[in-house]
Structures are given as C-alpha cells and as structure tokens.
C-alpha cells in the first residue's frame, strides 16, 4: 500500500481518499457498510460552538448531473461532538479532520482550540465558504483580508494544522488562496459548492425551503479542476481537492490538476461504498500506469517536460 501513502501537514494517510465534510456525518452511518480504517482520513460534518438546527426542509433538490443542498450546517454543537462523536471515532485507525463553521472569528477560534485537543483530530478545516447560512460563513470566503485574519487567529490557538476550505463563488480565487497562505494556513480544501437554485414549475417557487443551495456532484467537476489547476500553481501549500468526484478517474483528474488528496462528497449518497471503491480502483490505476507513488502525479498537468503515462 505504500504507493498510495500521502503525507500532508498533520495527516499521515494510507491513501489520498477521504469523505468530504457534510457527506459522511461523523462516520457512524457508513461504519455499518465498511471498516472506516480503510480511509485515508475522515472529514466530519461542520462543527459550530453551539448546536445548530439548520434550515427547514426540503433541504435537497436534484439537478442535471448534480444536486443542491441547503442543510444549513445542522450539527449537535462542540460539546456534544467532543463528548460523543470524536471519542467514538477513536476505535478506527484513521486521522480525523474537523470542519469548523462559525459566525465570528472568535467562534472559529473557540472550536479549533477545543477540538484540536482531541487525540484523533489531526487537522481542522475552516469552512469559510458555506453558501447556506445567512450570516458569517461566506463573507470570510470572499474577502481575502478577512480570510487571512481568520487564518492567522485560528493558527494562534489550534493545536493541529489548519486547512482552509475555499469558496468557488468568487471572482478571483487565487487572491483568497494567497491571502490564506500568507495567514499561515497549512493547506487548502477546494472546492465547496457553487451557489445554485431550482424552481418547482407548478408552484412557481424554489424547491428548497432555503431558496438557494449549494451545487455539488459531477456537474461541478470542471469548475473544481480549473480552480485547483490555477491555485496549485500559485501557492506552496497542499490542496485537498473535491468537487464531483464519482470514480477513480475523477480522483486522478483532480490530483493531476494539483490536488494532493481527494475528498468524496455527493458520491457517498449514490454509492455508500464510494470511498473504498475509489481507493481500490486508484491503486489498480497506479499499477496500470506503472506509477511509483501517487504523490508523483500531483500537479502533473502543469509540470514541464510532461510525458504521457504509459501502460507498458
């Protein structure tokens, strides 16, 4: 399995595949399908200081090649997560990344400080890009200065490396990425969902109770590839890539674009075995293409003196 090993700040991963935040709860449900220790890492649902009720239903709607969600960051709150969810995950041999949502810099700091004390939490991921909450969230993701300040302040208090999850709903994602790197981020996660919407023709109204939602799934993969390709050439920190990965080819595409690891979101809903299947298929692909280690492939699309992969 050493072909598949990936080392990122805080994360010694058996393979480059993890579930994406919000698409895997805190692991319990999918642990009924397979052993979570087979995963490269686990990124859990966004945690906020206090319990959050989220948005009214309907919270999901389908779109061509994708889906919209407006869960609204529902979660049981920091205390419950510390007391129940994180300890439960200790039974697995897998690093945990805690996705953090806050309305103020202080809220992010508070959650980061506390969760980073848990023994199995190896990194935090700052969700500065959730399109489904009215306050906070998205503003942090669209203003490079605020994003930088947030990163700096969280870095001050976090006991583990800090990844920042970027929003694709911006004019210039490179400037946000650079600002966050300047702020001391250890890595980037990208992309979060695109802002989208669906109407019900008969009622004339939005399908989602929240009106707009976040677009995920294969429809957004070309946007993810473009952004990872561009940002990875401009920053020195690693990228956890996500957006529309449905199989090992898609995962490979994000890695070639510049990601060092890949997170799987929507596809878990389509196939509960999505993560372990992709891990298995990725390993076969490395053999097929005679690649020594998966890390060699990261950013291969923009590296000079590129030779096609050969199957001989």
């Amino acid at each position: 399995m050493t072909k598949m090993n990936v080392s990122l700040p805080g994360l010694e991963m058996k393979n480059p595949v993890m579930p994406a935040s919000g698409c895997f709860g805190f692991g319990k449900e999918y642990s009924e399908f397979y052993d979570l220790s087979t995963l490269g890492a686990i990124c859990v649902k966004a945690v906020s200081p206090m319990m959050k009720r989220g948005n009214p239903t309907p919270r999901v709607a389908e779109t061509p090649g994708g889906m919209l969600n407006a869960i609204g960051l529902q979660n049981p709150g920091l205390e419950h997560v510390l007391a129940n969810e994180l300890p439960w995950l200790e039974r697995f041999d897998v690093p945990v990344i805690v996705n953090i949502a806050g309305n103020t810099i202080e809220e992010y700091m508070h959650v980061a400080r506390e969760v980073s004390k848990a023994p199995n939490v190896k990194a935090v991921e700052l969700n500065i890009s959730c399109p489904n909450v009215k306050e906070g969230g998205i503003a942090f993701g669209t203003d490079p200065n605020i994003a930088k300040e947030l990163t700096e302040r969280v870095k001050d208090v976090s006991g583990v490396p800090v990844y920042v999850k970027l929003s694709p709903n911006v004019t210039d994602i490179v400037s946000v990425a650079r600002a966050v790197e300047d702020g001391g981020a250890d890595g980037l996660s990208m992309i979060n969902t695109l802002l989208g919407m669906r109407l019900d023709l008969q009622t004339g109204k939005p399908v989602l109770a929240n009106e707009t939602g976040g677009l995920s799934g294969s429809a957004i993969k070309p946007v993810a590839v473009r952004m990872i390709y561009t940002v990875s050439q401009e920053v020195g920190i690693p990228i956890i890539g996500m957006g529309g990965v449905t199989n090992a080819d898609d995962a490979l595409e994000l890695i070639l674009a510049g990601a060092s690891a890949v997170a799987i979101g929507t596809q878990n809903f389509v196939d509960p075995f999505a993560c372990p299947s992709i891990i298995k298929d990725l390993e076969l692909k490395l053999e097929h293409y005679h690649v020594e280690t998966i890390s060699e492939l990261s950013g291969r699309s923009w590296r000079p003196s590129l030779q096609p992969l050969t199957t001989r």
Partner: protein, 255 residues
Amino acid sequence: MKKVEKMTVVSHRSIAKNIYECSLSGELVELMARPGQFVHLRVSDNTIPTLRRPISICSVDHQKNAFTMVYRVEGIGTHALSQKRTGDQVDVLGPLGHGFPISGLKEKSHCLLTGGGIGVPPLYELAKQLTKQGHSVATVLGFRSKEDVFYEAEFSELGATYVATEDGTLGERGFVTDVIATNRLSGDRYYACGPRPMLRAIENNMTIPGFLSLEERMGCGVGACLACVCDVKNEEGYRKVCSDGPVFKAGEVVI
C-alpha cells in the same frame, strides 16, 4: 454490515395509470423483516439522475427470495425505473429505516390501515403480517380517481376494504377521513401512510394510538446527510425520516 446489491427484475407490469408493480430478487430479501421499510434505488449508471430514489417495500416473498414494490412514475427517476425489463438489474440499497411496529398489540386486535396514493404500498406487507399474527384489519385507500386505484382486490382478501376517490369515480367520493367518519371506523391501533395533509388530518381526528409513515426528500437515505429531518413535538431535538423513520408514533414529530 449493510450492503448494496444489484438485484434482478423478475416481473414488472403496469397496474394502474402510471403505477407499476415490480418484483426484484436477490440476497437482500433475507434482511427484509419489518413492514414499512424502504429501499433506496439507483436507476442509472451515470449521474442523471444523480440521487437514489426511496421506494417502500410493498410485499416480501422469502420463498422466492423476492420483494415487490409499487410505484408511480413521477419524474426522471421513476421513469428510468419503469424502463427496466425482466432480467435487468437494479442497484438496491436497503432495507432502510424502521418500519411499522406490529408488536405490543393484544391478541386478536383490530387495526385500521389508511393509505393515500403511493402511500398505499407499504400497508400491504403490514396487512399481511398483522393478519398472519391473528389480528384483523380494515383498510381505507384514497386515490384521486378511478384510474389511479390499485391493490383494492389484494387488500380485500385480508379484511374489509374501503376505497375513496376525490372525484367519486370509484368507491365513496371524498377523502379517506370522510370514509373513516361515515363508516365510524376505529380499532385498537391505526397505521397511516400518504401525503402530509392526509396524515395531519388523521392524526388530528383519531383518538386511538397510531403510527404514521412520512415522506421527505432524501440524500443518503442512511442518516448521514441530514437532508430528511423533521422536528420533534414539544422538544428541542429532531428525527431523520430515513433512519429514525419513516414511521413515527403519532404525536412524536411535527408533520
């Protein structure tokens, strides 16, 4: 460990306007014990449609290793499902959720089953299991119009069966609640599945204990994505329709 299986279509036919009855066979049938559970179906091997579709288990045949679903063609997902021919495979995740509880009834109880439209199917396996245990059932089925009616004969074999159609083209004109009132139907317990307004009316009108099966738009179907939550009455918490439901005790959640 939970599983996903490519099950095989063993029969598939139209039984009313836009209503299909489809039987699938495979190993997952062994796990199908409780009436009112559902399966989550993948109907395409690309991403159109992206999500699985929840469909109730209508009846189970453990001898033949097969279960039957009855569904209405609504949009692209159920349309794609309706195109499957005998011998084709369907990717099935399930059985999911908690079904209708049938324990806790005293011997030879009488149960009132009420189903509206595509809420009817899960009541069929329920009626079979209840009668098998020696209870008696009366069933009220509500549809829009005559052409939409299905499974009237099947339920009649298991107990008194009343049909209501909104336009009066078959059975009594009106809603299921009208039929219940007119015929003063009651019993030791009720079970209901159908559109929210129907469930609300039933919950309000009935004075005996009961169980309601809810529908909600779903993502994962297994409790991980929080797409399908509903609020708990008189309390802070929430329930997930997919994994805590789809059946809830009347009065437990806000419908």
